[in-house]
């Protein structure tokens, strides 16, 4: 059996030469477009599921509230036997519902942030197709400024700053977790 010649392999054939329509920029744009489309599809699916979940949750919570009203109207002779236990159970459920109301809001925040990521991917896909822009550092600065202007939450701004300062993905996440724990603005209230 003849030995394979240099530059060829029996198991790894040499890739065909790119066609005229093939370009690195086009491949990058298509791949970024793929990521954006996958994210959009996943978000649409989860939107429907979360909407259904919230309808069920509010229905259950409304029913629990009705039960509280029924409990308040119980005749004194019945209430004397069950009222304390019933009220304690209702208070516990009310507390859990309050926690769920906070938790559901994080989905809204997630949707908003992923919307910014989708826009960023689409913007980058357009940008990389134009070599006149990609070769100029000031155009990259302009692109970053555009992306920065999208960010609405403290978390997004923190990640952006860490990454622009040269931190790795891992370091950014770790650094952000530390600062967020200490400086979260969620729930902050300011009256003017």
């Amino acid at each position: 059996m003849a030995a394979p010649q240099a530059g060829t392999s029996a198991t790894h054939p040499v890739a065909a030469a790119p066609s005229e329509s093939w370009a690195v920029e086009r491949q990058m744009a298509n791949t970024l477009g793929l990521c954006e489309t996958q994210m959009t599809s996943a978000l649409q699916e989860s939107d429907q599921a979360v909407d259904a979940l919230i309808r069920i949750f509010t229905g259950l919570a409304d029913t629990m509230r009705d039960l509280g009203a029924v409990s308040a109207r119980l005749p004194p002779e019945i209430k004397a036997n069950v009222a304390d236990d019933l009220d304690a159970q209702l208070a516990a459920i009310t507390k859990q519902i309050g926690s769920a109301v906070i938790a559901f809001q994080f989905y809204d925040k997630l949707t908003q942030r992923l919307g910014h990521v989708r826009f960023s991917l689409a913007t980058l896909a357009q940008f990389v197709c134009d070599p006149a822009q990609t070769q100029q550092p000031e155009q990259w600065d302009r692109l970053h400024a555009t992306l920065r202007s999208l960010y609405r939450t403290q978390e997004e701004r923190e990640i952006f700053q860490l990454m622009m300062d040269g931190a790795s993905h891992t370091a950014s996440n770790e650094g952000r977790c530390e600062t967020s724990a200490a400086q979260s603005t969620a729930g902050d209230i300011e009256l003017f």
Partner: protein, 124 residues
């Protein structure tokens, strides 16, 4: 003996799930809730109806919450109505724009139901 009618709150948010959470929280405390999906819809309602308080998001299609507050302040019947902004935005610059537009206060999402009700109780 007269029974006081419930106070009405206009809740404005483009997210249906957020409106549901706000509605559930406020109705449970005895408020009547009117909902709008963006600033334009809220302004249309405000031109013909009045409420006791406005609770609005910032980032919405067609008209954002800060523009809505500014527009509402030009309406005679909304000159002194408390307007709270409920948003994920925590930047000082946006907060200042809200204050200049006439907002009464700023609440960063996610809201805690008890704290939201306490804040509304303070400004009503």
């Amino acid at each position: 003996m007269s029974v006081a009618s419930p106070r009405t709150i206009l809740a404005v948010d483009d997210s249906a799930s957020m409106r549901q959470m706000v509605r559930y929280t406020l109705e449970g405390a005895g408020y009547k809730v009117v909902q709008a999906a963006d600033g334009v819809e809220a302004l249309e309602f405000a031109r013909t109806g009045t409420v006791d308080l406005v609770l609005t998001d910032v980032n919405m299609p067609r008209m954002d919450g800060i523009s809505l507050v500014r527009e509402l302040r030009t309406l005679h019947s909304y000159k002194f109505v408390p307007m709270l902004v409920l948003t994920a935005e925590s930047g000082q610059e946006t907060k200042q724009r809200g204050k200049q537009a006439g907002a009464t206060g700023w609440i960063v999402k996610p809201f805690n139901p008890e704290q939201l009700l306490a804040t509304i109780g303070r400004v009503l």
